[in-house]
Subunit: 432 residues, 2 copies
């Protein structure tokens, strides 16, 4: 069963209101095995809405329309649906009574304008609204079943749960048609580009495959999305598990977690599991790494704390970077980040320390060290000694992107180190 979602409203097409209804509806439908193939948002214009209904009804089994059921002149969904169905609007006496009852409860007479909310296209059915005055509608156009709900999220959600979902389930039962189950899963990676990930996945990304495997990028993180569509929930679950295992085996340690897991979640989980602690010494990332780590609930078990050594005096006085190291190599250097990490581990008593120093821009770049040049340091304990190492990342993007990628690179390097994996899996860093 394929669904299309249609939202009505000037405020939505003008970008003044972000439409949260469609994502909510799409997820509810997927959970019932119905998948959305299109969302459409149309302004408050009767012809445009009618045209959208006519076009979309041809390409789906289920069309859910939200919005445009209010009592004011710019609410035109009823009229547009009647136009698309080529029928007249008729008044529903039961709905008039229900709307009057709502106003009576509020101690007021029903405004004449609200009478329009009891109108519906001939041949359609009205759906009660438990939270407002606008009844919903159910109609048929060609092979498509159409539901119309109010656009107010609270009213829409209540109506979908109370009336639309039970009817869809009932309908699936009566037709002897057991809804197909769609399950989705996501595997997150960091440190390599989308095309490299795709190359590693190879045939797994064929568009004919079920489960279907795709990739998306967000803030440098490449996520592999898996979608399985099967008759039974157990088949779908098995298929998802098997495909995820195949993806994991192709990606190795680049993949750090499923679904909403962030790189810092993976790092904190590893540290807690190993009963190890971490400190940070940040220059160009300016507290971002510490903030990412402490954003994880329970991170206090692993995070001791850290330093933001933005000024050079903070580097020398607070984490004991020798001043001559800065003079000789510059603050943005492998030598300085190693000294920062060593100072942080020594002063904090932590088991590991990560450090950063770079040029986040927009100013401060030089031919030698252009904007995007970031040194990343790592320190750890070995026997009684402190060992340090450093990597150079050359990053692109604006200041926020460079800081974000630098932070994630440092966390992925630490994670790979903790796992005993090769750190050069992170393709954005080199030995300098």
């Amino acid at each position: 069963m394929q669904a299309i979602l249609l939202s009505i409203g000037d405020e939505l097409v003008l970008g003044q209101t972000v439409d949260t209804n469609t994502a909510w509806l799409a997820q509810r439908l997927i959970a019932m095995g119905i998948h959305c193939i299109e969302h459409r948002t149309v302004h408050d214009d009767q012809d445009a809405v009618a045209r959208a209904i006519t076009q979309t009804a041809k390409h789906c089994d289920l069309l859910i329309i939200t919005g445009g059921l209010g009592p004011t002149d710019d609410d035109l969904t009823r009229q547009a649906l009647a136009q698309a169905m080529d029928v007249e609007l008729v008044e529903d006496p039961k709905s008039i009574a229900a709307i009057e009852a709502i106003f009576k409860k509020l101690g007021r007479a029903m405004p004449e304008q609200n009478r329009s909310q009891a109108m519906h296209p001939a041949g359609s059915a009205m759906i009660p609204n438990s939270c407002g005055t606008a009844p919903g509608l159910r109609a048929q156009l060609g092979q498509a079943t159409i539901y119309v709900t109010p656009g107010v999220p609270r009213e829409m959600e209540a109506m979908v749960k109370a009336s639309v979902e039970p009817e869809l389930r009932q309908c699936a039962c009566e037709s002897g048609h057991t809804a197909r189950t769609i399950l989705t899963a996501k595997l997150n990676t960091f440190g390599s580009g989308e095309s490299d990930i795709a190359q590693r996945l190879g045939d797994l990304m064929s568009r004919e495959r079920n489960p279907l495997v795709g990739t998306t990028v967000s803030a440098g993180q490449v996520s592999v999305r898996v979608r399985a569509e099967y008759e039974s929930a157990s088949e779908a679950a098995d298929a998802i598990a098997q495909t995820i295992a195949e993806v994991e085996s192709k990606l190795g340690a680049l993949a750090f977690g499923r679904d909403e897991t962030a790189i810092q979640d993976a790092v904190i989980a590893l540290l807690v599991k190993e009963k190890k602690t971490i400190a940070t010494a940040e220059s160009c990332t300016g507290g971002l790494i510490a903030s990412m780590l402490t954003d994880v609930p329970g991170s206090s078990a692993a995070v001791v704390g850290g330093w933001v050594t933005y000024a050079n005096a903070m580097k020398t006085d607070q984490v004991d970077v020798p001043p001559q190291l800065i003079q000789q190599h510059g603050a943005v250097s492998g030598q300085v980040v190693q000294a920062m990490a060593a100072g942080a581990i020594e002063r904090s008593g932590a088991d590991f320390a990560i450090s950063t120093s770079g040029v986040a821009g927009p100013g401060g770049g030089t031919p030698d060290k252009p904007v995007g040049t970031v040194w990343l340091g790592l320190a750890w304990r070995q026997g009684g000694a402190i060992v340090t190492d450093a990597w150079l990342a050359r990053l692109t993007g604006n200041r926020a992107a460079i800081r974000d990628r630098a932070g994630k690179c440092a966390l992925q390097l630490l994670r790979l180190h903790l796992m005993g994996q090769p750190l050069d899996l992170v393709r954005w860093v080199s030995r300098g």
Copy 2:
């Protein structure tokens, strides 16, 4: 001029990713006097995308398509556009060279898969991408001008600003077509709720007014939005300026800046203007405040650095909080945040220091100090001495929200202090 926006991607129709591109685009277009009449989102299916292009191009002058330009097999927008235009895909040698140059800069060979990104429908033009490998496209289909941009917000926004908007302006000039001018402006506040702001604004919020004044809330920040629609640009600009001045006079120091100004931008600007410096000592915010401050370009002129004193030993050893203070009052107390701020200012030599200690949750709450209890400290120099003060914020929401609001409260308190304004304008803090 009427526009339609078309987004491509399974993750969007399935509700796994919320589409923020369309609202951004719709607002940019409105600012240029171009109205959006429809948004459409289609899954990764070549026929469906081609059909959407064919249908929408018939009903608009401008069609902007985002997404599906990546190098992988599920990126099908180029093919779909060629199908809708009934032409072949051809390779663009200049784009191949540009993509190869990006990979060369990264010290790697171009993966063969990225070659697909240099393909474009015959008769279309390529638009350079300043932030990624996928060039955009410009084509004509009937009366509609079509632009295709990557779906990654950063790449899309850069391409629209650098290439699409200048072309659209040029085009409007050449046609001698003057549209009605719509100008918008935004004034940002922090420290008080939306209903309080609305009460202060009073009649300015009447729906019949032009410019229209409204409020929106995002991450605790209440923004006042002003929208003026006039025949001439100068009328609109004058009207906006006058309304903004009225809003500012009603809100006083609660308002910290216009449009995209964040609270940290306002704080850094003030510090730089006064040639003053700041240090941070953070417990529950864990580096977030330092990260917010150093996210501002040029912040190194004002930010010396800071400490993340997550463990109590970091508080005592690194910013000199007397251990007995923690024993007596607990780490989450006015006494401890004052000692943290004093230690930070003393050790760093900064002119000001801000500090935080609180219960961000989800665990760690007690009847006395429930989740959301956050103490905020401030230290400054007076004569030769260091003076400190502390406020108690009681915040709601999840861990991320509590940390975010605590950081913004601390920055607004510092800003009001710097301006000599009463700090109790921040209604979410008390003397404890």
